[in-house]
Symmetry: C2
Subunit: 396 residues, 2 copies
């Protein structure tokens, strides 16, 4: 018999898996070109050529025992230094290699951060709508996830509710910027206000309250928007990152944690991350990928590819009468469900072979998420289906 917690977690997972299977079955029955699957956040832009070349060069020229061998649990010192220098150049920060821990993606990064800081029953605040995986990442370490209610007018955090939800048990706040699922960027003003509230609460309760920033979409921003770099606004900050989206390599599981040099007990915190990497069974981030991302550190993805998709689908949906705010970053669009029960809207969309994810997954019912990291041609083909869906709801 599997554990009781896992039985619940399987039950919770089955809705998403059911949609995967339904999409596959639809494609088999109708032909893949007649199914419009907007359910997955899977990067679509080509892998930068310098990254491919970096892998080939490494395999052909490096000592293979070094290239594929063990290193410090925190990663190769050269890679950590290159990442620190790159962040400093781009954001005016003052990281050294020792502040960077290489991780098995951002999911691995968040888990070692929580392993390092959470005592049982500690509370972690998430700002709805948020990526549902944060629930498991928190409960893995016996933490308790608490939600800040969404402000559906702007999808910036509801700062009043945020302040009220911070208690003596609050150990961390997760910030995902740009936000999955809304595509909103929390502005510098928002971040400054949050930091100010958190500093006040730290003083009131006499212990650290950490900002834990999850930034896999950091480079995917449009219209010249800027994503504030959080260590510049608040000392007790962890920035977690993944190369999944910027290099289109989500299967390779390569990312890092950057610890603010001004964090309390910095040396102990960095040691804790390294030990957590080992104890949780990650041991270290995959070694070839550590060296390859370092060599291709200036490689960037083709943001224009996603931007073109964004314009096409956003403009069409607004024209059809759907309500959604224009995404500033990431590759998601958050649409207000024309049906009070968004599950019914998700089902209605399926009739026209459109696959969307209900907002309940993100603790924001009444909305659906559309992932536009798909081919431009698929979006074009899907537009008549959206027209029929809009007609069904008399949106025009």
């Amino acid at each position: 018999m599997i554990s009781k917690t896992m039985q619940q977690q399987i039950a919770g997972s089955s809705a998403i898996r059911a949609m995967f299977l339904e999409g596959k079955e639809m494609a088999a029955k109708l032909g893949a070109e007649n199914v419009y699957d907007f359910s997955l956040g899977n990067p679509m832009t080509p892998i930068p050529e310098e990254f491919n070349q970096a892998m080939l060069d490494l395999i052909q020229t490096e000592s293979s025992l070094e290239l594929h061998g063990y290193m410090d649990n925190a990663g190769y010192p050269e890679t950590r230094k290159i990442i620190a220098d790159n962040l400093n150049k781009r954001f005016g920060t003052d990281f050294e290699g020792k502040h960077i821990t290489m991780t098995v993606g951002a999911a691995g990064a968040l888990n070692i951060v929580f392993k390092a800081i959470l005592d049982p029953e500690d509370e972690v605040l998430a700002l709805a709508p948020y990526f549902g995986e944060y629930r498991g990442y928190t409960s893995n370490h016996q933490g308790i996830l608490k939600e800040v209610a969404p402000d559906t007018a702007t999808f910036q955090p509801d700062l009043k509710d945020f302040e009220n939800k911070i208690t003596a048990k609050t150990k961390a706040v997760i910030i995902n910027n740009p936000v999955n699922p809304t595509g909103v960027i929390y502005s510098e003003e928002t971040i400054e206000k949050m930091a100010s509230i958190m500093r006040k609460k730290q003083e009131e309760y006499g212990h650290e309250i950490y900002m834990v920033s999850d930034e896999p979409y950091r480079e995917l921003v449009y219209d010249g928007n800027k994503v504030p770099f959080l260590t510049k606004y608040y000392d007790n900050t962890f920035v977690t990152y993944s190369f999944s989206k910027s290099l289109s390599i989500p299967g390779e599981r390569i990312g890092y944690v950057a610890v603010s040099p001004s964090i309390a007990d910095c040396e102990q915190v960095c040691s804790a991350l390294s030990v957590a990497n080992r104890i949780m069974g990650f041991v270290n981030a995959p070694s070839l990928m550590q060296k390859a991302v370092a060599r291709a550190i200036d490689a960037t993805t083709d943001v224009a590819y996603y931007d073109r998709n964004r314009q096409l689908i956003y403009n069409k949906l607004v024209e059809l009468g759907f309500t959604c705010s224009k995404p500033q970053g990431a590759f998601y669009l958050f649409i207000k469900s024309p049906d009070a029960d968004e599950k019914k809207f998700v089902e209605a969309a399926k009739k026209y072979h459109i696959l969307l994810v209900g907002g309940t997954t993100f603790s924001c019912p009444g909305y659906v998420r559309l992932a536009y990291c798909v081919s431009y041609e698929m979006i074009e083909r899907s537009l008549p289906a959206f027209e029929k869906l809009a007609a069904e709801y008399d949106l025009a």
Copy 2:
């Protein structure tokens, strides 16, 4: 402030880290060729050429979005099938692809198994001497590790104590075969007796007691010895594996769990492993490596390399009067400390620039572990140092 558990875990880790640093400092002071570091289990044999070629071919010919993209959390179906078929061919088992979950090394594999099966306060039995990391892997999931006392006459498990230690709270038994740190292989007779005791106890307590086998050294065996394949002896079995040692790629973190097709609730157990992979933040095993190990599934490492080392160091130590049983597998030698306090012996060895790990790490004080996965030449150079160490203890 980091969590209280992590503060203890850092304190526990610092002894090993201190030895790493001491080794590096010694090498800097005395020259690397004058330090005999036998402390690390880092593979030394060359990476098989077909594995290198597999990586190059994949990068040069496969669709890069597929090669580095997301797949099912359990891994690519083709890789899982190839591994199942390979196990069936070698061991006469009847695995299908669905019984295989690709993991971030064996450490990741053990962690998702424990995540899947452990409820809080469940007990996991480990057979001393055992790999100390099992303590963290168990406590990560709120399990409690209990030890079976070592039988230092043979280093086969003490079956009397084993039977006594199984309680109504026992959920799993970890078996590491061949054993780190002794190099012993648990014989077929031992495994049959353990299985029989466990079946009796399952009936007595009315719930499953799982065998969890940790087999990164499965192929590293000498003198024609055989390692029993555990699913053939006991139904409720998980076999965890890593390609770290067989392909010399420990930094790449690629392994798997094979679930016995006869395990209770097989389908639910396999689902749980997939969900655990996702929730713990592994998400999936690194994608390029999944495809590369499948292509090079018949590649083997040069066991003769380690065997040559084994003969040299074992024969010399016995000749010098040290007490140790001849290893049958893996690349470790477990030596009886001539000093009742093995820590003093570890310190004495350091005077001659020999680095060994104390048996307390493996819950077996009074012994030290020597890892002979080093160059033959280093062993040759170290022999005069062992002579001096033996002389200090009047062993001759």
